[in-house]
């Protein structure tokens, strides 16, 4: 075992213990990794490097082209997802163009809203030692239930919006209860059941869109009626502002506060955490394992359903066959986000903001530079990989490793 060197930088001492720092460094590594991808896939950069030995000026030129391309990509990623200093300065000095200046951050918040809610649901399940891989299906079910109530029932907004939201939660609870009950009473493994149940819900989505009253009148395609305005989550700053950030944000904030209270202060949350940390001790302490499993899936599924209906009522307004499919599958992203945020409400907020910003910024980058949006996915994945391997990150940045925290992962293997 190597001797610990007595002299270490203050920086290393301060940062060595914090998982937050590891996450930040993982982000840095992720960006470095993204830069390598940009260099190796962008034609002008490759051309510049190919001519490296052609003339005395070529190496400098190659480096400059590289820096220009990578710099531009990341600059646009930032200005497209947070703010552009120039536009913001313009708005401050002239009082004009605020909408322009705030659009990037508004977009990021809009994407982060349902993602946070779904990730909190997944995180609560993780804390209880349960893998809810079915958050996407549960969110979809929430969307379907919300669409029914939001389009086929007509009520004043003060009633319609809450009922729509509750319908979304109920849809998620319903979808979550199936794997929950199966696990509690038959021991069926939740990963398999929830994963498969996503496909079941996908089929239900198409069925409801094509063969029920939900389908928009006169439509042959998989498009539903549009939600009544009274069932929609209105833009926070009014329609005229042009900013898409909506009252879903308020719901997300409430969910985060609830989750913090639930995990840190509630008796049931205590049962969840004890069960997740040591199921045997939980049983010996009189915690009813079956009840915990069923409640975990109800709460986790309910939050996923709320995420789905928030996405529908705040963003899409109209349910269609592409709802939460593929890249839009926030329920799947939520699993990664939750792990990145170490299953804690505050961590999850930062993680979903980061993921939303990378996604929104990636779109801006694609539009401006032609570098594909998939680069954002590459960076997201790299960050998660580096977070999952804290030892590697600490080794690369020579952070102090403490033997107790070095190998602590956010969750345990799913076999146990």
């Amino acid at each position: 075992m190597p001797e610990s060197t007595p002299r270490r930088s203050i920086w290393a001492r301060v940062t060595g213990q914090s998982p937050f720092v590891v996450t930040v460094f993982a982000l840095v590594l992720g960006l470095v990794f993204g830069a390598i991808v940009i260099i190796t896939t962008t034609a002008p950069v490759l051309d510049a490097w190919r001519g490296f030995f052609h003339s005395w000026g070529a190496p400098g030129h190659a480096l400059k082209v590289t820096a220009d391309n990578v710099g531009a990509a990341y600059r646009i990623m930032f200005t497209g997802s947070v703010f552009s200093p120039a536009t913001l300065w313009h708005a401050i000095t002239t009082g004009q163009g605020w909408s322009n200046a705030l659009t990037p951050i508004s977009e990021t918040l809009t994407y982060a809203t349902p993602l946070t809610i779904a990730s909190i649901g997944v995180g609560i399940a993780f804390q209880a030692g349960i893998f809810n891989i079915g958050a996407n299906g549960q969110a979809m079910m929430g969307g379907i239930a919300g669409a029914y109530v939001g389009t086929l029932i007509h009520l004043p907004m003060a009633l319609h919006l809450p009922v729509t939201m509750l319908a979304g939660i109920a849809g998620g609870v319903l979808a979550g209860s199936v794997p929950g009950l199966l696990k509690a009473y038959t021991g069926a493994h939740e990963v398999i059941v929830t994963l498969m149940f996503n496909y079941v819900v996908s089929a239900i989505l198409l069925y409801t869109l094509l063969s029920t009253a939900l389908q928009a009148p006169g439509q042959q395609n998989d498009i539903a009626r549009t939600l009544d305005p009274s069932a929609q989550l209105a833009p926070l700053f009014g329609v005229s502002s042009g900013l898409r950030v909506n009252y879903g944000l308020v719901i997300a904030v409430l969910v985060v506060l609830f989750a913090w209270w639930f995990l840190e202060r509630s008796s049931l949350g205590f049962d969840f955490r004890v069960t997740g940390a040591n199921p045997q001790a939980a049983r010996a302490s009189g915690i009813n394992a079956k009840a915990v499993i069923i409640l975990v899936f109800a709460i986790s599924g309910g939050l996923a359903g709320l995420a789905g209906v928030t996405e529908l009522a705040g963003f899409y307004k109209t349910l269609d066959g592409g709802f939460l499919v593929g890249n839009a599958g926030i329920g799947f992203t939520a699993i990664t986000v939750s792990l990145l945020g170490r299953n804690r409400p505050v961590g999850i907020v930062w993680a979903s903001l980061l993921f939303a910003a990378l996604g929104v910024g990636g779109r801006a980058m694609q539009a401006a530079t032609g570098i594909p949006l998939d680069l954002a996915t590459v960076i997201q994945s790299a960050v998660v990989l580096f977070v999952a391997t804290p030892v590697l990150v600490k080794e690369i940045f020579r952070l102090r490793t403490s033997p107790t925290t070095a190998l602590q992962l956010a969750t345990k293997g799913w076999g146990s």
Binding site: R265, S267, L268, V274, A281, A284
Partner: protein
């Protein structure tokens, strides 16, 4: 073989497990290494056996400086080790186990059973260690399995035998047999390094005693020194080895078990028709070699294992096949056998662990919301009352020593109103100081009129605490005797011989 250690130091990060250890084992000598759990005994043995490399110091074998890169080299150089947990293949025969890794072969690499068998016979004859070479290891009693381990070491021409806590799993009779073997091996010129924390054994067998504490040699002692002297050397302060109890004044029956049958994980009846009663104000100690159904019996009482037939009642209330919650609410306090698995959540704080099975009880929670101030207050007072050594009530329970972890469980169970207190192996792995403390707490509860059931495989503990001693063998109570009964009689009951009443 003469083994000499000079200034052996072994560090794990910043923690020094062994510091400047000097030790000499002469040929034909039985050298006892005495120390508490966590004193660094096993680390030192692993250094000698080549499983760990020392950071400083040197090891001399017959005067030659030697360093082993792995245990294979140590075996070739004549060092044999008998681990606390046997390294045998249960489904293999004795002969196959002994030759494992060094198998004699015939043509086409086939195992030569005949030669293996002969080898064992000759070794067992030389050292007078009788074992049937064709017996299947898992069918042998534990004492004989250990003999197979010793045979295995000797068949590799071991000149120095390391025995790591070899008596933990043995009955008193088997311990006697082991001691006889050790003496005859020493007489034939083998050196023996015997590791233990049990004072009686040390006094019975040692030629030389080296005491280590917190990784350092604190001195050598003679077998003629008193147990109290040895204990105080080992712990670093004087300790009381006897337990003072008030006169027995038993009250009403608090635990009644009749004809209980409980199956183990493999579906075999581990508890097979046990009847037992515990009265208020008395300690019933359940003695027996590990694995004779005590674990399953306690799990059945705690509601963690289904009861096949028979009944369990606490203060006349039937709790057979009730849930752990219902058993807890019936006033049963339970110190589980495996404290880290069943008793604690290591990743949570001391304060949370102190309310682990009462999180909803007032004042710790109200209408589903926890009152962390009350939880913390409770922790403060229990930490003080039970002398739990922790940096704070918010420290993770995993940061506590084994003894203090056990105090957390005992404190939690005794802090709520109880009718019956069940403690499984309450002092396993604890140092002498903590054992003293836990024993006093248990006796205090009994003196205050609580019914107590202790399960222990340590005969000393059983004799010191029990007002009545029930001995368990093969899933049955083989006898209930008074604590004045001789160790030999209890030993025979532990081995299943005869049934008596008291």
């Amino acid at each position: 073989m003469r083994l000499e250690l000079r200034g052996i130091t072994k560090r794990f990060g910043t923690f020094t497990a062994n510091h400047q250890i000097d030790l000499v084992v002469e040929p034909g000598q039985i050298h006892c290494l005495l120390g508490e759990n966590g004193a660094g005994k096993s680390t030192l043995m692993n250094v000698i056996f080549g499983l760990l490399q020392s950071d400083e110091g040197e090891m001399l074998i017959d005067g030659v400086v030697t360093r082993f890169a792995n245990s294979g080299e140590a075996v070739r150089r004549g060092i044999g080790m008998v681990h606390q947990h046997f390294m045998l293949v249960p489904v293999f025969s004795v002969a196959e186990n002994v030759v494992l890794g060094f198998e004699p072969t015939k043509s086409f690499n086939r195992l030569d059973h005949q030669r293996a068998r002969e080898e064992i016979r000759s070794v067992s004859q030389t050292f007078n260690l009788e074992v049937d070479p064709d017996a299947i290891v898992e069918e042998l009693p534990v004492g004989l399995q250990q003999r197979v381990e010793i045979l295995k070491a000797l068949s590799h021409d071991a000149e120095l035998l390391i025995l790591d806590e070899p008596t933990a799993v043995l009955t008193p009779q088997e311990i006697d047999a082991l001691m006889a073997i050790m003496r005859s091996l020493a007489a034939s010129g083998k050196s023996i390094l015997f590791i233990t924390h049990k004072l009686k054994e040390v006094k019975a067998i040692a030629d030389v005693i080296t005491v280590i504490r917190q990784g350092e040699v604190v001195g050598t002692a003679q077998a003629s020194d008193s147990e109290a002297e040895l204990a105080s050397m080992m712990v670093g302060r004087s300790v009381s080895l006897t337990v003072d109890k008030a006169a027995l004044t038993p009250g009403e029956e608090v635990l009644a078990i009749t004809d209980l049958v409980v199956r183990d994980d493999r579906g075999l009846p581990a508890v097979n028709g046990v009847s037992l009663s515990v009265r208020a104000g008395e300690i019933v100690a359940l003695a027996g070699v590990q694995g004779n159904g005590q674990t399953e019996l306690v799990e059945a009482i705690a509601g963690m294992r289904p009861v096949e037939s028979g009944t369990i009642s606490v203060r006349g209330v039937d709790i057979t096949n009730h849930t752990p919650r219902q058993v807890l609410d019936a006033g049963v306090g339970h110190v589980p056998e495996d404290r880290q698995l069943h008793g604690l959540v290591l990743s949570m704080s001391v304060a949370d662990n102190l309310v682990l099975n009462t999180p909803r009880r007032a004042p710790f929670a109200r209408r589903g919301s926890r009152n962390l101030a009350a939880v913390n207050e409770n922790a403060q007072s229990l930490v003080q009352r039970f002398d739990i050594r922790t940096t704070s009530t918010q420290a993770l329970v995993s940061s506590l020593s084994g003894g203090n972890q056990q105090k957390v469980i005992v404190a939690r169970e005794l802090s709520r109103p109880l009718s019956l207190f069940v403690a499984s192996q309450p002092t396993r792995g604890l140092d002498v100081g903590s054992i003293e403390y836990v024993h006093r707490q248990i006796v205090n509860q009994r003196d205050e009129g609580l019914g107590v059931l202790i399960v222990s495989s340590e005969l000393d503990e059983v004799l010191a605490l029990g007002d009545r001693i029930a001995v368990m063998h093969a899933g049955r109570i083989s006898g209930v005797v008074a604590p004045t009964t001789s160790r030999e009689t209890i030993g025979l009951l532990m081995a299943g011989a005869g049934a008596t009443d008291a």
